[in-house]
Amino acid sequence: MLNKDQIAQRIAQELQDGWYVNLGIGIPTLIANHIPEGINVEFQSENGILGMGPFPYEGEEDADLINAGKQTITALPGAAYFDSATSFAMIRGQHIQLTVLGAMEVADNGDIANWKIPCKMVKGMGGAMDLVASAENIIVAMMHTNRKGQSKLLRQCTLPLTGVKCVKKIVTNLAVLEVTSEGFKLLERAPGVSVETIKAATEGRLIIDENVREMNI
């Protein structure tokens, strides 16, 4: 079973040289720490920066330089700043090759719910709806089940949707899955995790080929 950092590490293996990438808050943020050798990517934060660098050293924070999670950041050489309309022009116009974000639920048709729980305080969708509606390549990073042990990979989402038929791939603590027209296709299982465990933790339709390989982590 993977921990959160290992989920990020596994997703980092999906990165391709030359990609622009938008990382959501939570697990996706950790991906920046695991970029494979020889792979060069540039991070976009939707509040207005391309070429986002690491957090600043203590005492070097700049109130005018933050990421979409409102954390202080730095800019790498070759970075550029832009306004919010231009930022979402990049996103909506499919100039960002990969979006990674967390989710509360994913359905086996690619629907995603990650912004609202009815009867609870709603904070808003931020940029998530724009991101999922436009990204050509969306990976969801999440735990396979919720705190009550219920599957987050469903036949149909029960929570209000963020986007429809948009998720392409899911990396959880248990597995790597691809969304196909017939449901979740199990691509890889986490080290030491059996296909049966994944089956039991997945409520949506699950396609299992012979010999599902173990992740290389």
């Binding site: 600043p56 005018d64 990421n67 998530a128 709806m129």
Partner: protein, 234 residues
Amino acid sequence: MALNKVVENVQAALEGVENNMTFMLGGFGLCGIPENAIKELVRRGITGLTCISNNAGVDDFGLGLLLQGKQIKKMISSYVGENKEFERQMLSGELEVDLVPQGSLAERCRAAGAGIPAFYTPAGYGTEVAEGKEVRIFDGKPHILEMAFQADFAFVKAWKGDTAGNLIFKATAKNFNPMMAMAGKITVAEVEELVPAGALDPNQIHTTGVFVQRIFQGTDYEKRIERITTRPKV
């Protein structure tokens, strides 16, 4: 000679604001918010406001200050609730909240400034954001029709500005400020540094003075950081 948009201070800049008006306020979180204008709105105590702003500040800073005084009737934002008073007012029904996808929020501001009454976007299709909105398929993909906003005043904050109203923003403090500057019936710009017309390179202007009706030298900027995050020096 360049036009002169300078007003003496924040009081003069907010001349004409009234109860029940709709305002746009630049900023992302607490970054790039019009601190001076917000303080003056608090001081004036006008109420029934509709505020279009990506976020709603924190309890004791930014738009949170207007919430404390129950001056806001309705928030139009993409992400809110970083403060308890907001949550209380929203759950009690005192505060109306319209949540808009961030990219649609930005584009609806730009559209307002650009004379585009409406446009199609895929964001929000199939979600509750699309409820009551026209759906149309383009190139096989469903989109929803989103309308331009309208605002009586837009309050923006820039790094540098000149007397002609030309603005330059710094780093990610740019965010929603340029589009909102385009969209206000009256746009009020406060700047950290006000310089004479001609002092800024015309190639480097982010927002041209044509969009700005009033500009003033801001004072006492706190520029609070919401989440200071650092790494250790190696």
